[in-house]
């Protein structure tokens, strides 16, 4: 994986030193909160409901064992023994104390990590497919691209004061696991007629209060043109993006108001006028970055399949986990393991320090020292030899990390919501806990099949509710928590924004409504293989709606 060069290391240390001095000045009274706030936000430090919160960047969700172990140390030494993995592939600590934050940042710098650009109107942490470098369907590893973008965008003087925050996602596979169509810029790797890899460039996607599916602004961009073309997009956005209204400042609004054609024309004009070679990445640097992401040397000898089959036949829980939590690796002797951070009744994305340490150990021992954080708030061991799966499962099961629910109904995305977040209008975590308990039965979950529930505690949509097959949005309705349900959202290459189903539900109504909805789906599906989303697309909203709102049906 990527290693800091001298410049990176020095830059991060300098920032920590600066921030330490800024904290001192805030504490001794020479900085007011108004002066300090933008500085702390630039270093990932937020103030939430009960405490400060530190958001640590995990670029493109890639970590090694040493880094994960350091995250555990931080959780124990300066926090309350756990951390929360987010839909932005970051980790958040919920209880740091202001005087400790510079020490935490130094501890992060010790393992080449930081909290820079996790906040503010800049280009945020670039996210990528969590199966990058391992997936069977991949054209190319998207992480060198993501790293190149990270270097290009970090402290880029032109883009430090954008109209609003800016998020970029990259996937190296045609199957989009990085939600590229819901980002300001999404890059999807494809091949041109000659077979050369390049990008489909998607612009203007996003969630929040005005959800939009991104649009293709360039059907094929050669790899070498990446930085000049993105720089052209950023310039157009910087010049024409609205600054008069925070809610209309994202690039999606510019694309919506001015039309894709207009934005495309301006970008192409800017691109044509640019001194391309001056902006384009130095091929030597690209090669250097790529070398860091070279595929690990895999042991491709045949797997002892008989032993594996025997283990499956004697342990139904292991069998279920094998069926649900593995993804296809490009090497047939290997598998990609999803470690569920969604135990039944747990808080989605939370992991204790002990759990982090175990994952670090397993990664070092079995996965070429690689770990990924997925936007679905799970962890991933990307390169596991299939022979090792029984041992890995046994270790995970002991630590409550082996729930067999990847992609199933209890694999719920939920933002921290009003249990932590100062912006929240309602809680998300208890809603997720309730739903997951109702569908706890592994057999029932497998019968239901792929079903993605995503919950946000406010209109900002950090819980991706707009693109959940079932989306749940928590609101404050006259001093009471109320939940709006959307149906039919899709986060993949066939992205769609969910449609509102009807009136909002009280907290205690949500769980029973989900049970009715799922029962209706099981009734309506044509075959056992027709997923919830497919059934919804085939039949439309009406029958699902009447399952959600029986009173409307009874009145009719």
């Amino acid at each position: 994986m990527y290693r800091y060069d001298e410049f990176d290391a020095q830059f991060v240390r300098e920032r920590v030193k600066q921030f330490r001095a800024q904290v001192d000045r805030r504490i001794n009274g020479s900085l007011t909160e108004d002066e300090f706030k933008p500085l702390r936000l630039q270093n990932g430090l937020y103030l939430q409901l009960h405490a400060y919160m530190l958001r640590v960047a995990i670029p493109y969700g890639t970590l090694n064992g040493k880094q994960m172990r350091q995250l555990a140390v931080i959780a124990e030494k300066w926090d309350k023994g756990y951390g929360h993995f987010t839909t932005r592939q970051n980790i958040q600590y919920n209880w740091p104390k202001l005087p400790d934050v510079a020490d935490i940042l130094d501890a992060l710098a010790d393992v080449e990590m930081h909290a820079i650009q996790t906040s503010g109107n800049c280009i945020r942490n670039v996210t990528a497919d969590h199966f990058a470098g391992a997936a069977a369907d991949e054209i190319e590893d998207p992480r060198p691209t993501a790293e190149l973008l990270r270097q290009w965008s970090t402290a880029h003087p032109e883009f430090a004061f954008l109209p609003r925050k800016f998020k970029i996602a990259v996937t190296g596979s045609p199957n989009d696991r990085a939600v590229t169509k819901a980002h300001d810029i999404g890059l999807r790797m494809i091949r041109d007629a000659s077979g050369a890899p390049g990008y489909e460039v998607i612009v203007g996607g996003g969630m929040g209060r005005t959800p939009m599916v991104g649009k293709v602004i360039r059907e094929f961009l050669p790899k070498a043109d990446l930085l000049p073309y993105l720089e052209a997009i950023m310039r157009v956005y910087n010049l024409y993006g609205r600054r008069d209204n925070k809610y209309k400042a994202r690039i999606k609004i510019l694309v919506h108001e001015e039309s894709l054609q207009e934005v495309r024309a301006r970008v192409e004009e800017e691109f044509a006028a640019m001194d391309g070679p001056a902006v384009a990445a130095d091929p030597a640097e690209v090669a250097r970055i790529e070398s860091y992401f070279a595929a690990p040397k895999l042991d491709s000898r045949p797997v002892r399949e008989a032993a594996l089959a025997a283990a499956r036949s004697t342990d139904p829980d292991f069998d279920a986990w094998m069926a649900v939590n593995l993804a296809e690796h490009h090497d047939a002797s290997h598998a990609i393991v999803t470690i569920s951070l969604k135990p039944i009744g747990g808080a989605p994305g939370d992991a204790s320090a002990e759990q982090m340490r175990l994952v670090a150990d397993l990664a070092e021992r079995y996965s070429h020292d690689e770990i990924r954080v997925s936007h679905e708030q799970n962890l991933v061991l990307p390169h596991v030899r299939r022979d090792d799966l029984p041992a890995i499962y046994a270790a995970l099961a002991k630590a409550d990390l082996a729930t067999a629910n990847s992609g199933l109904i209890s694999d719920i995305i939920a933002c921290p919501g009003l249990d932590y977040c100062a912006l929240a209008t309602a809680r998300s975590i208890p809603v997720a806990q309730d739903i997951s308990r109702r569908f706890a039965s592994p057999a029932l979950q497998r019968k239901i099949g792929e079903l993605k529930i995503k919950i946000s505690g406010c209109i900002n949509a950090c819980g991706h509710h707009h693109v959940g097959h079932i989306g749940i949005l928590g609101l404050d309705k006259a001093g009471k928590e109320n939940y709006q349900i959307t149906l039919g959202g899709d986060a993949t290459e066939t992205a769609a924004i969910g449609e509102r189903a009807g009136r909002g539900l009280d907290a205690e109504e949500v769980g029973p409504a989900m049970e009715r909805l799922v029962a209706a789906y099981l009734d309506l599906r044509e075959t056992q293989d027709e997923t919830f989303l497919e059934a919804y697309r085939r039949i439309g909203q009406a029958p699902f709606k009447s399952a959600l709102y029986p009173e409307a049906r009874d009145a009719a």
Binding site: I27, L49, H50, Y52, P99, L418, D419, R427, D476
Partner: protein, 103 residues
């Protein structure tokens, strides 16, 4: 007829650890909602907030929050958001004020 005034308290977060604090009648800060000074009218509320704003070295982000009167006759949160702030995360009753028995 003007809308009746809902009693208000001033709340903020502690500068050092971010913990939820309430402005008391003596213009000090308490971690318990019950100790909060209650403003019964607009003028008193403005004065309380002004007193809080003069102490930027101790707290962050003071604001007025609607308050009710609890069973013990002391001020108590009126809205669920403020109630969660007096407790801690509802899914982790081992953390926050609720764990310290200060709720």
């Amino acid at each position: 007829m003007p809308k009746p005034f809902t009693p208000q308290v001033v709340t903020a977060n502690d500068l050092f650890d971010g913990d939820v604090v309430y402005l008391t009648a003596a213009h000090g800060w308490s971690r318990e909602h019950g100790d909060a000074a209650v403003a019964g009218n607009e003028e008193a509320a403005t004065a309380l907030l002004a007193a809080a704003t003069e102490q930027p070295g101790k707290i962050v982000g003071p604001y007025l929050a609607d308050s009710a009167i609890g069973a013990d006759g002391r001020p108590a949160p009126a809205h669920y958001r403020e109630a969660i702030r007096t407790l801690g995360p509802s899914n982790r009753t081992d953390l926050g004020k609720q764990a310290e028995g200060a709720a």
